[in-house]
């Protein structure tokens, strides 16, 4: 049986009186591409940001790669490649400086992998960050998340802003890394991505999580999760 790369049990996080996530529990196994669906504000980003230690959780336990998310925070981040939904970097820096900076902080020489990724994603490394469109910033973010060949990828709405060809290349890269033993948590609104690439999936709604029996659900079932919330 495959080991759990992500183990979350009874995670609750609130922002003062506002709801964040309530009693969220799920596991992601090694080699999985796990689809994480849900409407805006359902709690997907809160769950991810709790996993990465950006947020202080109210209760529950999070284990990533067998390590405690609070105690082993730094060690976890060494093995995680995270791509946030909005790819912001220091405006005054050049693309190659940002990529090198991310590698330097990890004390790794990722130049070979970074060059490979930049070539495949057609990243112009000589431009300044402030000259880039959202899509191009996202490509830089992908390189930063992948260049150190992490054991776990966490992507928060990664394909927004990417053109269809880049989306295809992005998923090709994920599949290649997963084939080599990595695991991927993919937070998205795009049902077709989950249907095509994910092996398991869960949907969040109003801070609570429901595991889906299969990631291959039809549009109607998918939209019902959004509609019920509106009602």
């Amino acid at each position: 049986m495959k080991e759990n790369v992500i183990e979350i049990s009874h995670l609750t996080k609130s922002y003062g009186k506002s709801r964040g996530v309530i009693d969220v529990s799920f596991n992601v196994k090694k080699g999985d591409i796990f689809g994480f669906l849900g409407p805006n504000g359902a709690g997907k980003s809160t769950t991810i940001r709790s996993m990465l230690g950006f947020l202080k959780i109210n209760s529950g336990n999070i284990k990533i790669l067998g390590m405690d998310s609070i105690k082993d925070h730094e060690e976890i981040l060494k093995n995680v490649g995270y791509m946030p939904s909005e790819a912001w970097f220091y405006d005054s820096m050049k693309v190659n400086d940002v990529i090198k900076y991310a590698a330097d902080v990890r004390r790794l020489d990722c130049s070979k992998e970074a060059a490979k990724l930049c070539e495949r994603l057609k990243v112009d490394t000589h431009k300044k960050i402030k000259q880039l469109s959202l899509g191009n910033r996202k490509k830089v973010s992908i390189v930063c998340a992948m260049q150190h060949r992490p054991r776990l990828f966490i992507f928060d709405e990664p394909t927004g802003g990417l053109d269809p060809l880049m989306q295809k290349k992005f998923f090709e890269l994920i599949n290649e890394y997963v084939a080599q033993g990595a695991t991927c948590l993919l937070s998205t609104h795009v049902l077709s991505e989950v249907d095509k690439y994910c092996k398991n999936a869960a949907i969040m709604r109003e801070g609570r999580l429901t595991m889906l029996e299969t990631p291959h659900i039809d549009d109607e079932t998918f939209l019902s999760f959004y509609e019920e919330e509106e009602g």
Binding site: Y15, S45, R49, L52, G53, F54, L55, K56, H73, E74, E75, L77, K78, V80, Y82, P84, E86, A87, W88, F89, Y90, D91, S92, Y101, A102, D104, V105, R106, S141, C144
Partner: protein, 263 residues
């Protein structure tokens, strides 16, 4: 941590150059103007020393503006004090909060660094910036003295620069604590505080009832006229400054470690 420190130093380099060259060059020009104003200064010195509380507030009752050390203490002392205080405030008040304000936080926080390491790198950056600022200004002022060819008591001059540096550290410590509180740009607050500290010191020297509380403000122990008249070492003010600095830094670490980071 070294990479973060290097990045922070590069990001703040422009600010350092603008502020240190402006304050330093302004001080240098003022020093060089001394020669051309020397003749008129004698009359001005008599007038300025008889202006009651204001003469005392700006140190003109104890120091003659007609001498270089008196001129430096009253003119350049004020320019450097206010300029360096404002620089310390703007560097420190944004050093933490700018990541969340500019949405670069998620990139930085996703790198394998604890919050303590990030904050240590940022605090070191502030300290290094202040050392470099003080060094650049010191060199400008020394150049001024050399070009002028006038004698200047260097021991008192260096005491002044060291105490100004301590004042800058204290202001930076307060601003670092404030920067840890939110993820918003608080540049206005930093500049406002710098001006408030300066105004408090001037008021404290004009209003007799406030005089005994001067030690609370960061300008109290860095006052040029007191240093150049070799007044007694303001131990209480210096002890308070060290206490405020340590408390500010410790608070920043404590609070930054316990709060949620905005995206």
């Amino acid at each position: 941590m070294r990479s973060v420190l290097k990045r922070e130093l590069l990001l703040n380099l422009k600010n350092l150059l603008i502020w240190s060259l402006s304050v330093g060059a302004l001080g240098l020009v003022c020093i060089l103007l001394y020669k051309s104003m020397e003749g008129e200064m004698k009359d001005m010195a008599d007038a300025f020393s008889n202006m009651g509380a204001f003469s005392e507030a700006f140190g003109m009752s104890t120091l003659s503006i007609a001498t270089l050390k008196g001129y430096f203490a009253t003119e350049i002392g004020a320019v450097h004090g206010l300029g360096s205080c404002m620089f310390a405030a703007i560097i420190a008040i944004n050093i933490i909060s700018k990541e969340e304000d500019a949405h670069t936080g998620e990139f930085l926080f996703s790198l394998p660094l604890s919050r303590n390491r990030i904050l240590t790198a940022k605090s070191l950056c502030v300290a290094i910036m202040l050392v470099l600022f003080t060094t650049v200004c010191t060199l400008f002022y020394l150049l001024g003295f050399k070009l002028l060819g006038e004698e200047m008591p260097l021991d008192l001059f260096f005491t002044f620069m060291v105490r100004q540096f301590l004042m800058n550290l204290e202001v930076a410590g307060i601003c670092l604590a404030l920067s840890s509180l939110t993820g918003k740009n608080r540049m206005g607050l930093g500049l406002g505080m710098a001006l408030l500290f300066y105004a408090y010191d001037v008021m404290g020297r004009v209003i007799p009832d406030l005089k005994k509380y001067l030690f609370i403000g960061p300008f109290s122990y860095a006052n040029a006229s007191e240093i150049f008249t070799e007044a007694e070492l303001p131990v209480t003010g210096i002890v308070v400054a060290c206490g405020v600095l340590i408390c500010g830094v410790l608070f920043a670490f404590w609070y930054y470690n316990k709060r949620d980071l905005a995206s």
